[in-house]
């Protein structure tokens, strides 16, 4: 009775090229839209997880290992598994549906989310979100 597919919810993508990847809901379209007459949401997820960083690593190596590669996608609710975790990263201004229209807008949006994700990873919070799901 409580809506849980809200922005900032961490979800796992179940189908498609990004199956098994963790993502965060940026905007949800409960009733669908004209092009997509089903419930769907705009997610920003991790294409390539950051590697494990150990204390022994030099600064250059840490920087290289903390890189995150992102994706932005519109996904059907049926192809998502919601989790109890949330990730409060402000992506609303950066990620939007019109960012998906052209390739260069999408690349720019991905770059901006990459920055936000990387700085969140470096603080050490939301550790679950940045670890790969083993299956």
């Amino acid at each position: 009775m409580v809506k849980f597919l809200k922005p900032n919810k961490a979800v796992i993508v179940l189908q498609g090229r990004y199956a098994g990847r963790k993502a965060v809901i940026v905007k949800s379209f409960e009733e669908g839209s004209r092009d997509r007459p089903y419930g769907h949401c705009l997610v920003a997820g991790i294409k390539k997880y950051p590697s494990k960083v150990i204390r022994k690593d030099s600064a250059k190596k840490t920087a290289k290992k903390s890189r995150v590669k992102c994706f932005i996608k519109l996904v059907n609710y049926q192809h998502l598994m919601p989790t109890r975790y949330t990730l409060d990263v402000d992506l609303k201004d950066v990620v939007s549906v019109d960012a998906l229209q052209t390739k260069d807008k999408k690349v720019a949006a991905c770059k901006a989310t990459k920055q936000r994700f990387e700085e969140r990873f470096k603080t050490g919070k939301n550790r679950w979100f940045f670890t790969k799901l083993r299956f």
Binding site: M1, V2, F4, E30, Q78, M81, P82, R84
Partner: protein, 112 residues
């Protein structure tokens, strides 16, 4: 022996309440629609048969936990649950959207 008698009586009362929901309320039958009703937060009570595959059972319970909706584990398999709903097919899980005249929502969620 007292415990066995008590479960038989409550089991029949669940069946009665379910019959009343079928007659006067709104419900959906089946795994896909149960998940849909949980996603758009229309479901008020979920009933799962006892021979539901454990992965599916865990998944429905997880969604219900996120949604804060009660789950009732029906004391019978999908054949029995289908019969209790008055249908001639098997029902593994069902979601009650509007109980109608029944008090199933008020009396069931205490038990799991």
């Amino acid at each position: 022996m007292v415990a066995a008698k008590k479960t038989k009586k409550t089991h029949e009362s669940i069946n009665n309440r379910l019959a009343l929901v079928m007659k006067s309320g709104k419900y959906t039958l089946g795994y896909k629609t149960v998940l849909k009703s949980l996603r758009n937060s229309k479901g008020k009570l979920i009933i799962i048969a006892n021979n539901c595959p454990p992965l599916r059972k865990s998944e429905i319970e997880y969604y219900a936990m996120l949604c804060k909706v009660g789950v009732h584990h029906y004391n019978g398999n999908n054949v029995d649950l289908g019969t209790a709903c008055g249908k001639y097919f098997r029902v593994c899980c069902l979601s009650i959207i509007d109980p109608g005249d029944s008090d199933i929502i008020k009396s069931m969620p205490g038990d799991h």
